[in-house]
């Protein structure tokens, strides 16, 4: 199946090999059409209007919320629209930190994206709580056994990614959540890299909070979801205050709306929510069975070819994952990525917002190739061809011996 035809960006960039979907996926026409539909046919505000363009747009927004609820197996009022995964993760930390006391423990990992880790680092500093890191295995993985080593009666929060954005490993979150709940701890899962690639079932995971961004899953930028368990959301204070999130406001008092609206202050990104509905439809049509199969085939093929190049070092060659973390030995990733870019291969270089992990790996920066279902075998072959060409080039200019 050639999925590239659904992505307008390729019309003007036929030869582009896009291997940076972990940073942001490409967007299909269906999604940009849905966004412009809002501007062309509705264009009014939602929730507050009493005329057609407003109540019709409100109905569509609520329909999208239902779609997302179904997509992750939540109920509708548990789906909060946010500015993105970063916003979702910050909201959880900012609201829950008020319950933290001196000496409480927060468990996280060195694999985390900065947006999963930093809100808790700040909260811990403010409240005198202690951050504990799950020791990673030699391969850089999180295991249930190592989680048990840091879990204690003092654990109040576990902030953990479902899939690492550098290594691509799948965290055993279901087991970790079950163990955390025995201790009464709350688990906030960063699903930014998981939601685009696999069926998420928040009930099955029993996650307390689950966050993700639409721009990594064929959807619009500037929109994310915070899933939270009803009873938790009901007991929490909102972080942002403003219009449309309150019930009654007097000069000295305010009561809030019910969830999810309590957490949605101000005018929402309505056009993006329209786009998100189209993205969910699109992913459902493609199907996670197909997505997982292609993730494995493409990254497996690329890894096999990379392994045969002696100048290449792969950092996560222990498990199937749509992400390959690697370097050309002796070449700084930023030098390498310019060569790829000049040859129309889009990779990511640097720290990928995961500096603690690079310290753990004891490297200053890495290259990352990430695959999605619209990539194909010819992308892999061009990537390998350019890799070999890069090595030859850097030898020729005297960079590599």
């Amino acid at each position: 199946m050639n999925y590239k035809q659904y992505f307008p960006v390729f019309q003007n960039r036929k030869d582009m090999v896009y291997l940076d979907s972990a940073a942001s996926s490409l967007k299909p026409k269906k999604v940009s059409d849905a966004i412009t539909d809002y501007y062309n046919f509705y264009s009014g505000n939602i929730e507050r209007g009493v005329y057609p363009i407003s109540f019709e747009a409100t109905a569509i927004v609520e329909k999208v919320r239902e779609k997302i609820a179904l997509f992750i197996n939540a109920s509708k009022e548990e789906v909060i629209f946010t500015r993105g995964c970063t916003d979702s993760l910050n909201t959880v930390a900012l609201s829950l930190k008020e319950n933290l006391k001196k000496g409480d423990e927060i468990i996280t990992t060195e694999l985390e994206h900065h947006s999963s880790f930093l809100p808790w680092l700040k909260a811990s500093e403010e409240k005198g709580a202690v951050i504990k890191f799950i020791p990673l295995t030699e391969e850089g993985k999180i295991t249930v056994d190592n989680f048990k080593k840091v879990l204690s009666d003092k654990t109040k929060i576990v902030a953990i990614s479902h899939v690492s954005n550098v290594m691509g490993y799948l965290t055993p979150v279901k087991e970790i959540i079950a163990l955390s709940h025995i201790k009464g701890a709350i688990v906030s899962v960063d699903g930014a890299q998981a939601a685009p690639h696999m069926k998420i079932d928040v009930k099955d995971l029993d996650a307390d909070f689950y966050s993700f961004s639409f721009h990594k899953m064929c959807g619009p930028t500037g929109l994310g979801v915070l899933y939270g368990k009803k009873e938790l959301l009901n007991s929490m204070e909102p972080v942002e205050l403003g219009g449309e999130m309150n019930d009654e406001v007097s000069k000295d008092n305010v009561t809030y709306k019910n969830i999810p609206y309590k957490f949605e202050a101000g005018t929402m990104p309505i056009a993006e929510i329209f786009g998100a509905g189209a993205a969910i439809d699109f992913l459902n049509e493609v199907g996670f069975g197909y997505i997982e199969k292609r993730d494995k085939e493409l990254s497996g093929y690329a890894k096999k070819l990379l392994r045969s190049i002696p100048e290449i070092v792969i950092y996560n060659d222990y498990e199937e994952s749509p992400i390959i973390a690697f370097n050309i030995k002796g070449i700084h990733s930023h030098d390498a990525v310019s060569f790829y870019s000049e040859n129309n291969v889009c990779l990511r270089a640097g720290l990928h917002c995961a500096e603690p992990l690079h310290k753990w790996l004891n490297i200053t920066a890495s290259l990352r190739a990430s695959f999605y279902f619209y990539n194909d075998e010819s992308d892999v072959e061009k990537f390998i061809f350019v890799t070999k060409k890069a090595i030859a080039f850097f030898k020729e200019v005297g960079y590599l011996e």
Binding site: H334, E355, G398, Y399
Partner: protein, 146 residues
């Protein structure tokens, strides 16, 4: 691949492989600036010493890509011995050159001219600029103190 050749020139490779003025003095009279590019992990330290209005010494240290490290080395060599005023002027024009902005072509940038090709690589402007920015900070700091 003429474009890539325009930035990976022999001079740049030579400075990357054999950096000049490498290692910090951390002595009295030296002013230090530490700059970092948080997205790619480049990290540069530049130290300078001013005597009688002249930049009498520049030391540099850090880690990063070849462009970042070579620019630190070339800057340290090119600007050593210049007056503070001339050094600041060269830095200013060098930064404009790599950012593809108008700059005063009558000023002799010496070996720093090898970075002209960077203007065609927007993603690398920061790599070529970070050491110059650090040195500018140390010189400005010293000027203020003087």
């Amino acid at each position: 691949m003429s474009d890539m050749n325009s930035i990976y020139r022999q001079v740049i490779m030579d400075h990357y492989k054999n950096p000049r003025n490498k290692g910090l003095k951390e002595e009295e009279g030296y002013v230090l600036c530490h700059l970092k590019n948080p997205s790619c992990g480049d990290m540069i330290n530049v130290e300078s010493k001013i005597q009688n209005g002249l930049v009498s010494d520049i030391r540099q240290d850090g880690q990063g890509c070849s462009i970042c490290c070579a620019s630190a080395s070339i800057i340290s060599e090119t600007l050593k011995g210049k007056s503070v005023k001339d050094a600041l002027n060269i830095i200013d024009n060098y930064l404009k050159m790599v950012s593809n902005e108008e700059y005063d072509k009558s000023i002799d940038l010496d070996e720093l001219a090898v970075f002209e090709g960077i203007k065609d690589f927007p993603a690398r402007v920061r790599c070529a600029s970070i050491a110059a920015q650090a040195l500018r900070k140390t010189l400005e700091k010293e000027e203020k103190n003087a």
